[in-house]
């Protein structure tokens, strides 16, 4: 038998890959919700402004609300005007609106799933979307199983299918596995895109560029040169009316399980062999597997009481609407973590996260060891701090390096100065919203910035172990005032080892 040799296309030389998705329909379940208004539709509009959406494209908003197509379009136009990062351009909006339909759908009414299939087929005919589907689950976790089952049972062999799943992916390890199993009955792992929107942030991706595109950092990115790492995910906001969710989740499930552990993994991971989804995620999973469960003395939890934010009074967590007045839900976590591998053995990673803290910021701080033998008198260097590399994830996205420099003048006095690289400043361009990048990547089938099932399971496994230990004690909540940096025990956690939290 002779093999037919496929000749490569010589006209593609030098053109480079074009990040243009194939024709498809994006179905948003939970289309009347806050996420669709604030993030999903404004992101789709920004993608449309940059002509990054496929030419043959359609959106179906699906939710319980009884809206018509036009009512839904009106709602989304308001959302784009209010939350979009681009100026409103009627010609772009008209294109997007024309591609948008709405389906009033009760997720618990399985019989109405047929209406969706009918509408999808109709759109394929009209717009040439070739049976390609992206299903975006912007719905509460309890709505997921029905949707997955119904969509799975009705999937056809025509075109490709991708599911975008919002966090939380499960409530604990058991429920996450259950959900993975259910999805796995109908969809392959490479069809599932679990969103952790932190991974869509430019500065989080820049962490990979900083580490693996610069020869100067990687050789010192290890236990020999790094004294410790601090990761802070601080919010000034409270729970913003989300008591139903937050009372069950707490800070540990809302932030620690996903965003924070992702930041730890990206900071500590080994260089991947390439930037493909599997290589990057393999390295992140290795970090999570190497993290021992922190002991009870290495985790501090807190809950905010009344205080002041931006000069205004803020109520305590237990006084928030719909919150149990005796709630024991955590709104703050501080922990000392380790990654037990060759690179990081015995190097503490201090993390803290919480609501109603003193300032909104997400930073990763790499604190290097002091110079071994500064040849200066002690008095000349008393203001000198060890070198510090600060990655500002938000706000003021960028990187600062603290170095010692001579103070101008007679004699030798050395103090710490910061060299700043401000991300938005260097490139003078508005950073795209994380959702823009992630929605586009899902349409393109690129899973690099999405969480894999084994990654989620490792995260839950760590969280379950931490939470299990909490059953044995009952802290005196509230234990920090809104507008501060958390409970005193959080400071003690790091201070007892002769270190301090950074005041950035």
């Amino acid at each position: 038998m002779t093999e037919t040799q496929v000749q490569p296309n010589p006209l593609l030389d030098g053109l480079g890959p074009r990040r243009a998705p194939e024709p498809c329909v994006l179905v948003i379940f939970g289309a009347s919700g806050d996420l669709t208004h604030r993030k999903i539709f404004p992101s789709l509009y920004s993608l449309a402004c940059r002509k990054l959406l496929p030419e043959k494209f359609a959106i179906i908003g699906a939710a319980r609300s009884q809206w018509t197509d036009d009512e839904f379009r009106d709602q989304m136009e308001h959302a784009v005007r209010e939350f979009g990062r681009d100026d409103f351009k009627p010609e772009v909006w008209n294109w997007l609106a024309e591609a948008t339909r709405y389906l009033s759908l009760d997720f618990s009414d399985e019989s109405r799933e047929n209406e969706l299939s009918t509408l999808l087929n109709e759109i394929d005919e009209e717009r040439g979307t070739r049976g390609n589907r992206v299903y975006y689950f912007a719905v509460p976790p309890q709505a997921m199983p029905t949707l997955v089952r119904e969509l799975g049972e009705r999937r056809t062999t025509e075109g490709w299918t991708r599911l975008i799943v919002e966090k939380p992916f499960g409530y604990d390890l058991a429920s996450a596995r259950e959900l993975t199993e259910l999805i796995g009955k109908h969809f392959a792992e490479n069809e599932v895109f679990r969103i952790d929107h932190y991974l869509g942030k430019e500065t989080v991706q820049n962490m990979l560029a900083l580490r693996f595109a610069n020869g100067i950092f990687e050789p010192i990115w290890n236990r020999q040169f790094v004294d410790h790492i601090q990761i802070t995910v601080a919010e000034t906001l409270g729970i913003e009316g989300r008591a139903d969710y937050y009372e069950h989740a707490g800070a540990i499930r809302d932030i620690f399980q996903n965003h924070l552990l992702q930041l730890v993994a990206l900071t500590a991971m080994e260089p991947p062999i390439d930037f493909t989804a599997e290589s990057v995620r393999n390295e992140k999973v290795k970090v999570l597997k190497a993290m021992p469960t922190p002991g009870p003395r290495q985790v501090v939890r807190g809950q905010y009481g009344p205080g002041y934010i931006d000069g205004k009074e803020a109520v305590g967590y237990r006084d928030e609407e719909k919150v149990d007045p005796a709630s024991m839900t955590d709104t703050f976590i501080a922990a000392k973590l380790y990654v037990d591998n060759w690179r990081w053995a015995d190097t503490p990673i201090y993390v803290r996260l919480g609501k109603r803290l003193a300032r909104r910021e997400t930073t990763i701080a790499i604190q290097f060891k002091r110079a071994p033998h500064p040849p200066f008198e002690d008095a000349t260097t008393e203001e000198l701090q060890p070198n510090l590399l600060l990655v500002h994830v938000q706000p003021d996205e960028g990187v600062s390096l603290a170095i010692g420099a001579k103070v101008p003048g007679q004699g030798m006095r050395i103090r710490t100065v910061h060299m700043d690289f401000l991300y938005g400043g260097a490139f003078r361009t508005e950073l795209p919203d994380a959702y823009e990048r992630l929605i586009l990547d899902a349409m393109l089938g690129d899973q690099t910035l999405f969480t894999r099932s084994d990654e989620v399971e490792e995260q839950w496994s760590l969280v379950d172990a931490v939470v299990a230990a909490w059953a044995r004690d009952r802290p005196a909540f509230p234990n920090y005032a809104a507008g501060t940096w958390g409970p005193a025990a959080g400071d003690e956690l790091i201070r007892r080892e002769g270190r301090e939290w950074l005041r950035h």
Binding site: Q7, N9, P10, L11, L12, D13, G14, L15, R18, K51, E55, P395, D396, D420, F421, L422, G424, G425, A426, F427, R428, T429
Partner: protein, 297 residues
């Protein structure tokens, strides 16, 4: 002198002088940056990714400033605009502008430097010696040349030696395709904005593979530069003789393969987009070099 490059900057510090020396310009750059420190908590941040030179004969001044205005947001750089006046009395007039762009949630600003030099008389022939002290050390130098560069003449060749990438627009040259034979491929990496304009069409044509492999005649409705480059590209990539049938038009708006219309791409790029794309390129573009070489055949 040229107008400020962007309307979005918070404020402009400016220095100008007539009959100046290059040292005066260097000192002015330092002084303006130091002065920016008085108002805020430190000097304005300077985060350049390149030195961006532009050689702008008077007839291109307006168009050049308009294009550069669309770039300030995307490519932070030290801009050096050279306005040659070979017939004027010898000397250099200079304006140095420090444009301060506001930063979200920051009191400090990002500074962009724009040096405009009017090169009079003899100084037009020694431009390289004037710009050398003004280049930002360690960063790539891009040279945008408006109009037809006099390749082989000192004023062009010396500046080309200084730069890492030469960016022209053969659509501005009256003698294409012959001019392609003079391109300085051995001295520096070369970009051609006319070539960039053909990119959406090249993508469409690439989509016609493998049927397009047997093409005999290419019809192009558009400027001559783009038409000859497309023909050169197909000849070089497919390694065959292809006849070009050219219909003059202001923009590239139709391509035929052996009489059949090629699908029209939707992508349309502005002048700033086109130059911006070239400023993101660093290495030699071998595909362009081969296309330019066979454009005239």
């Amino acid at each position: 002198m040229a107008a400020p490059l962007s309307a979005t900057h918070a404020h402009v510090e400016e220095w100008s002088g007539e009959d100046v020396a290059v040292d005066d310009v260097v000192r002015a750059l330092c002084r303006l940056r130091e002065e920016s420190a008085h108002e805020t908590e430190g000097p304005d941040l300077r985060t350049s990714v390149m030195t961006h030179m532009a050689w702008v004969p008077s007839e291109w001044e307006e168009a050049a400033v308009e294009t550069l205005a669309g770039l300030g947001e995307r490519h932070p750089s030290r801009g050096i605009l050279l306005f040659p006046e070979p017939d004027a009395e010898d000397g250099i007039d200079a304006t140095v502008r420090m444009l301060a762009f506001p930063l979200r949630e920051q009191r400090r600003h990002i500074a962009a430097e724009v040096v405009s030099l009017r090169l009079r008389g003899l100084s037009t022939r020694a431009a390289a010696s004037i710009v050398n002290p003004l280049l930002v050390p360690g960063l790539p130098v891009f040279l945008r040349w408006r109009g037809r560069p006099p390749f082989g003449q000192p004023e062009a060749d010396d500046l080309i030696q200084v730069c890492d990438r030469f960016i022209g627009d053969s659509g501005e040259w009256p003698d294409v395709p012959d001019a392609y034979a003079e391109l300085p491929f051995e001295s520096t990496a070369v970009s051609d904005i006319a070539w960039r304009r053909t990119e959406p069409w090249r993508r469409e044509l690439a989509g016609l593979w493998p049927e397009i492999a047997e093409i005999g005649k290419l019809g192009v409705r558009g400027p001559l530069a783009e038409a000859t480059l497309l023909a050169g590209w197909l000849r070089s990539r497919l390694d065959r003789d292809i006849e070009l049938e050219h219909y003059e038009a202001d923009s590239l708006d139709g391509v035929e393969i052996d009489g059949s219309e090629c699908p029209t791409p939707v992508e349309r790029l502005s002048g700033s987009d086109l130059l911006s794309a070239e400023l993101d390129e660093f290495g030699r573009d071998r595909v362009y070099e081969a296309a330019a070489e066979r454009a005239a055949v």
